[in-house]
Amino acid sequence: MKFKNLQNYFMGITLLLGPSHLTKAQAWQVLSPRNANYTIEVKLDPKTKMLEGREMITWRNDRDQPTNELRFHLYYNAWKNTRSTWLLERTLTSQIPPRRDGTQRNLREDDWSYVNVSSIKILPQGKFSTTDLTANKRFAAPDDGNAEDQTVMVVVLPQSIAPGESIQVELSFTSKIPRTFARTGFRGNYFFIAQWFPKLGVFENGGQWNCHQFHAGTEFFSDYGVYEVKMTVPSNYVLGATGRLVEKIDNADGTTTHHHMQADVHDFAWTASPDYLVREKRFEYPGLPPVDMRLLIQPEHFRQAERHFAATAAALQYYGTWFGPYPYGHVTVVDPAYESGAGGMEYPTLFTSGTRWLNPAGGDSPEGVTVHECGHQFWYGIVGNNEFEHAWLDEGFNTFSTARAMEAAFGESAWVRRYFRGFIPIKFDEVKLPRMTSGNRLQGYRPVATSDAQSTLTYKYFPASGARITYDKTALWLGTLERYLGWETLQKIMATFFERYKFKHPAPDDFFAVVNEVTGQELTWFFEQVHRSSEIFDYAIQSVSSTPAAPEGLLDMNGKMIYFGKQKSATNGSEKIFRTQVVVRRNGGAMFPVEVMMVFANGDTARENWDGKERWKLFVYEKPARLKFAAVDPEHKLILDLNYTNNSKLLQPAATLPARKWASKWMIWLQDLLATFAFFV
């Protein structure tokens, strides 16, 4: 089907469905290329944890080269056994330590998963006639050659698909749902179903499929399209899914089929559970399109429903105002079941948040995760970068945006420590989580700062530290850009990038080009360091001194050599003069222009700009007052600086009292701990 025909086809559908299903604007406006369209029917068997499915894919080659094959992701095979690339990589992290015999801890036969494609055939369309391709399928491991990894399936076609041509294929598949891995799976009668169907990779210019194996540290990448999905589940289950409900049919066998449809998205996820409570609310904000918010919440969290709505609304408002409006008109917020492992994940028009039964207001949960996952509707959902290769483009952008929206909507959060296996939270109101550092996760980045250059493809990051380079480092350098360029400029950059690449697949260079274009500056030097290198930033005041400026030794005066001994003071007229020396040092390998500020005892201030390139720099002043303190980067523009404490130095150190203050609090802990030891004798 040609693009125009396809477009007409879906317009027809939307007209048939009417405005109750899609907004008027959406019914007429095609937002994305819609070159990968899925019609799926699937049935859930909660007892066997199986999915029985059939899908029809209509794919249009909208690239400049022909292809004679189709490549599919079979994500559920990542948890088929310990030989999969995903699980082999995961053993490099501490998350699932393998046993000596190679099996995974606490996993039973029922916990593993797979997706089995039982048939695949071409449907008659254009030059293609009905052809069974089942025998043509094979597994491929383009990333690591792991012959036992079955997460990529290649199907060779009898004829190639030329640029502009389309093909329709039909697949039948059976999926065993895992006990949750990577946020998809089951716990008891709770199901969160994501990455569950055979899904096409992305065919790129140059004639190559971008269809990576599933890796422990990566997420997803797909083309945009229209998804029409019919999910059959027991009738007592509440269902939430990507898109809007088109139709709901009660079947004779005690099941109900929920028919959902969504255009201009690149994935489809759904959830079903008999326990969900449903609440709905409408988001409205001047200048932004309204959004129907549907919340599926666990009964024990019902009192937190308003907090979920407030956070979702905050994301829709701030992201919508800063970057661009949310176009879909509806969003489903899923509060996952306890320990289901499905929390904190984004899918088009649907996301999972995550909270606890006891969760004090003023901490950063569940607001933080809700804003973040809703924020992914913008960075990932609308701007659809390749998460296998450049996940930082969405995760990092979103981490930065989350922190900003959280601060704007809720102010600074307080630190919460959870006691007794995490059940009892205690909020420490005086310990605030600053947006720029805590929000952008400096503490996560610090220990792994040199583990990988960010420009390394995401799936090649060291699995245990990749997320920190993806999420944290990006958020930190965006924070640095915000303070270096100003929020107005950065907001313009991000909004331009959003507008230009919405419903597209941007690459890193696209963003860097937008930065240079919007700022009118050449900022490549910055990205060379933060993106293409793993060097760290660390500026410090190495030393400060302020001594009487009187010289000592032999000085030429009026043609004579006169000896000056050590003097207690020097004067200029009646003023005493002090010579102040400040040595600023660059400890890290990376460079950034910094300001150096000197504050003197008489209130005078001196500010210097240093390009930060040399290893050290001396600043000298002769002033009628001693130095009070010196600070490099006093405004803390360089959020990436790993050690900010060393950025300032007082002439008269004052650390004794604060050290005693905090040690005295720690001492009370230690004294009580010793008394606790004594209980045992």
């Binding site: 716990r187 008891g188 009668n189 709770y190 326990d275 666990q298 009964p299 024990e300 306890y338 039964w357 420590r417 006691y419 007794f420 296996r421 059940f423 205690i426 420490f428 109101d429 005086e430 310990v431 605030k432 550092t437 805590s438 400096l442 503490q443 610090r446 220990p447 400060v544 050690n643 900010y644 404490t645 950025n647 130095k649 007082l650 002439l651 150190p653 650390a655 004794t656 009292l657 604060p658 050290a659 005693r660 203050k661 905090w662 040690a663 609090k665 720690w666 001492m667 009370i668 802990w669 004294q671 009580d672 701990l673 010793l674 008394a675 606790t676 030891f677 004594a678 045992f680 004798v681």
Partner: protein
């Protein structure tokens, strides 16, 4: 006849609470009658904690250096500094956290006590804790002797002589109780929590797991307290009867606890509740992080010390009260000490 029977029943109902509260009152009286002992034990606790505190103070001071952050840390808490410090700190430094504010230290230690995780602490602190246990064990002889012979004058000589006299006997008891504590913390508790994890594998409601976990904590706490109570009565029997045989003392303890379960458990629980109420009060009045002057910092520290002293008094009241109960009940029943 009926009226008389009712009266007797009435008295029986009130007898046990009366005995328990009498024991608490008597225990408290014995403890507060020895202010020098309280002062000495607090000082012991303080002095034991001081060297590591000085080390910690040095580490914090060294990290803050002459930076402007030190000014912020004087006024409040800087999470950025803490994370920097924590990243570069050694094992001792890593024991510092924002949870030292307010009631945090006591909650953390309560958690460590319940889970036995205080022995999984930094080796230096565990070593100090073990040393503290040994010295406390030594001092306990003097403490119990003092409570047993309160009419006699408290002298250093008598105190340490009693400490020395009972030390080896208490070591035997500590070894025996240690085996049981290890069983509870190292075997029963992990098994209980594993059982909960297993049985709630498909549970989707946190509250269910919460209450099961709370139940498991109660079981662990009960077992810890039961062992503690039995061995405290064993120590009391050792001192009161000059019992030399550790096993016999334990038998005495077991016999006593289970002969008077309502009174022994009631007394222990009542004292435990007082302790928890005290913790609750402290959580309300405990100062936060915003002291900046020497006076405020000192006052905050003193308030913490006052709470520690209150806890110490309560701990001693356990001994004093249990001894009073033991004496009362053994006087009534005049049992022969158990022998092995």
């Amino acid at each position: 006849m009926f009226e008389l029977a009712m009266q007797k029943e009435h008295y029986r109902i009130f007898e046990e609470p009366m005995i328990i509260f009498s024991a608490i009152r008597e225990g408290l009286r014995r403890v507060t009658a020895s202010p020098k002992l309280i002062l000495f034990l607090w000082l012991f606790n303080f002095v034991m904690a001081l060297p590591l505190t000085l080390l910690m103070s040095g580490q914090i001071e060294s990290s803050l250096g002459a930076s402007l952050v030190s000014e912020k840390m004087q006024k409040s808490f800087d999470l950025d500094w803490y994370e920097e410090f924590n990243h570069s700190a050694g094992a001792l430094g890593k024991t510092f956290s924002p949870a030292v504010i307010g009631v945090g230290p006591f909650l953390g230690n309560l958690e460590s006590w319940l889970t036995g995780s205080l022995f999984a602490n930094y080796a230096g602190i565990v070593g100090l804790g073990l040393g503290y246990m040994i010295i406390w064990m030594f001092l306990l002889g003097g403490i119990l002797d003092r409570f047993a012979h309160r009419e006699e004058r408290l002298t250093m000589e008598r105190f340490f002589s009693a400490s020395g006299r009972y030390f080896l006997r208490f070591v035997t008891l500590a070894v025996l109780s240690g085996v049981l504590y290890f069983l509870v913390c190292g075997f029963i508790a992990p098994q209980l929590f594993a059982l909960i994890a297993e049985s709630t594998r498909d549970t989707t409601v946190e509250k269910t797991v919460f209450f099961m976990t709370a139940g498991a904590y109660l079981v662990v706490a009960f077992l810890l307290m039961l062992i503690n109570m039995i061995f405290e009565y064993a120590k009391i029997a050792t001192v009161v009867h000059d019992q030399r045989n550790g096993f016999a003392a334990v038998l005495n303890g077991v016999q006593f606890v289970f002969s008077h379960p309502a009174k022994t458990f009631g007394l222990y629980l009542a004292l435990g509740v007082f302790l928890l109420v005290g913790l609750g009060v402290y959580s309300i009045v405990a100062p936060g992080a915003n002291q900046s002057s020497v006076i405020n910092i000192t006052l905050t520290f003193l308030l913490g010390q006052i709470f520690l002293v209150m806890k110490l008094i309560m701990r001693l009241t356990f001994f004093g009260g249990q001894m009073a109960l033991y004496e009362t009940m053994t006087e009534r029943m005049e049992p022969a000490p158990a022998t092995v």
